[in-house]
Point group: C2
């Protein structure tokens, strides 16, 4: 393996180009970055860490690792109604940094930056005796008072999701070697959805204008819906039959209906779950169409005493073995 140079060298070669367009990054040659928030704006800040062997398979291409690591952070910003602005990357590398690996990582970040409208502000590169780990902190902008919260759903609100649910967890199953009779295209679609979360930037303004509550779906729809309801002190029902599926996920479920639970509770969706007051749904749906944002109404919010459930086709609550991904 070609060995990359020292820390300063690595920063200048692989990371400084990612910060070239960032005012306040100073070419990554200072000790900190500077953020100048436009007047009347607040900053939304989120952080997510990805560890090899936990958040991605050990043999994953560095380009994909990078894209996803930034994507999961920017997805959080979008769900809060915040426009992505800058991010910081802390990178822990096993002993011998490899030029080709670092090139791939840098290329993946470059691609993600373009897709996600943000640039690098700063970071830290350290050595680790353990697996590769990336910790990203992403910073977005909202007009003051505009952040969309997890708590805020009210009884009577409609529940919506963006995009399609379950592709990520099915893509992971394929990557882990599970057999399936899906077509090549369907398989490719699911794996790509696992690797390339596409934060819903089109949702940012629509959420600020209409949503009573929102969060991004990372640990599974059912579990994340329960979290949103808990934070809002409400109950709610999701209708399993209305949950939007891709062609690939539909094909898989047609063959193996028992996997529905995994789809609903699987995680790695990086879609947005949101609630909208009933009287606002018409203008909300109109604005989503105008923004090119695919959304589906999948349930409603009720009083806390009604509890949180997922209703099957017969209207009876589905029993889910797990509601979502637990990290411990």
């Amino acid at each position: 393996m070609a060995r990359a140079g020292g820390e300063t060298d690595i920063i200048q070669r692989y990371f400084a180009p990612l910060a070239a367009g960032t005012p306040g990054a100073f070419g990554l040659s200072d000790d900190a970055g500077l953020v100048h928030p436009p007047q009347g704006h607040e900053l939304v800040v989120t952080t997510d860490m990805s560890v090899a062997g936990v958040h991605f398979l050990e043999d994953t291409a560095p380009r994909d690792i990078a894209y996803k690591a930034l994507g999961v952070n920017v997805s959080d910003l979008c769900a809060k109604g915040a426009a992505p602005s800058v991010y910081l990357l802390s990178l822990a590398l096993p002993g011998t940094p490899d030029d080709k690996w670092l090139e791939g990582l840098s290329a993946g970040l470059a691609e993600a930056q373009t897709d996600m409208a943000c640039t690098l502000l700063g970071g830290d590169t350290v050595r680790t005796p353990g697996p590769v780990a990336l910790s990203i902190t992403a910073i977005g902008l909202v007009p003051s008072g505009g952040m969309v919260h997890r708590a805020g759903a009210q009884p009577g609100d409609r529940v919506y999701v963006t995009g399609t649910i379950g592709d990520g967890v099915l893509g992971l199953a394929l990557l882990q070697g599970e057999q399936s009779n899906l077509s090549k295209q369907h398989k490719a679609h699911l794996q790509k959805r696992y690797w390339r979360p596409r934060p819903r930037l089109q949702a940012i303004k629509v959420l600020r204008d209409h949503a009573s509550a929102a969060m991004d779906i990372s640990d599974g729809l059912a579990g994340d819906f329960a979290k949103l309801c808990k934070a809002s002190r409400v109950g709610g029902t999701l209708r399993a039959a209305d949950i939007p599926l891709s062609g690939a996920a539909s094909a898989w479920l047609a063959e193996e209906p028992g996997r529905l639970g995994a789809v609903i509770a699987g995680g790695d969706d990086y879609e947005i779950l949101m609630t909208v007051p009933e009287e606002a749904t018409q203008s909300f749906e109109q604005d989503c169409r105008a923004a090119g944002l695919q959304i589906t109404c999948i349930g409603h919010i009720s009083a806390q005493r009604d509890g949180v459930k997922v209703a099957g086709k017969d209207g009876q609550p589905l029993h889910l073995e797990h509601q979502g991904y637990e990290h411990f």
Copy 2:
């Protein structure tokens, strides 16, 4: 070992109390934190990752790990003239989180928060098959235009440092089992200095008012001075005889003068290196006294063509085997 609960449980028990005083943290129950910068201010943002076995010994008390992890970040903010405000913590934990360990970590963060005038805004807790790792992003405030840069030193400027140099690297040597005839108190002092960096909050305003350039000393005085000179496109000389030493470090060097190089290039000082225009030195020194900040003039800045050197007692350049800590 007592096993701590799931992720939500860990957050509520050990981290939410650290965010109780943070406006915009929402009790750590939302997906992101919110920062509302006061009008006329900018945000200085820095990130540093600490990995067990690299940045701290595997058997280190969690309280010390936490204190130092926050300290090294806040030290960066202080050196930039920024008042610490909030921080985010990403924590990677090996398989089975242990209640006692997490309690210690939380207590160390609580202690550090008080000493360093900042509170928790958010974070992420993940599992790792590798060693414990903490990635902290710290956010500070400066009046717009007030950030102190690494580039900015001018020929003729005086070079100052806060506190004393070399305690950290000598403390680490003791922790790694090196023998020495130092007194118990001296040993304790050096180890404490390694474990408990005390960011120089008293320096924040003085730096903004007087310094032409500054950085915190984390990778060794000689190497960090060379970085500051390079960024500022100047040369400079440090006078070894003037470098401030603690009683413990002086006692060690009296016994083993050959260790001077290690002291100058060792790292883990978390003091501030700064340059001050000659005409400002008097009011600078006055303001430092008023702020209770110990500083020492240890050199001067010259033209770039003169190069960067450390002069020994005889005025001749010292030869240093290493200038500072290189991460790869």
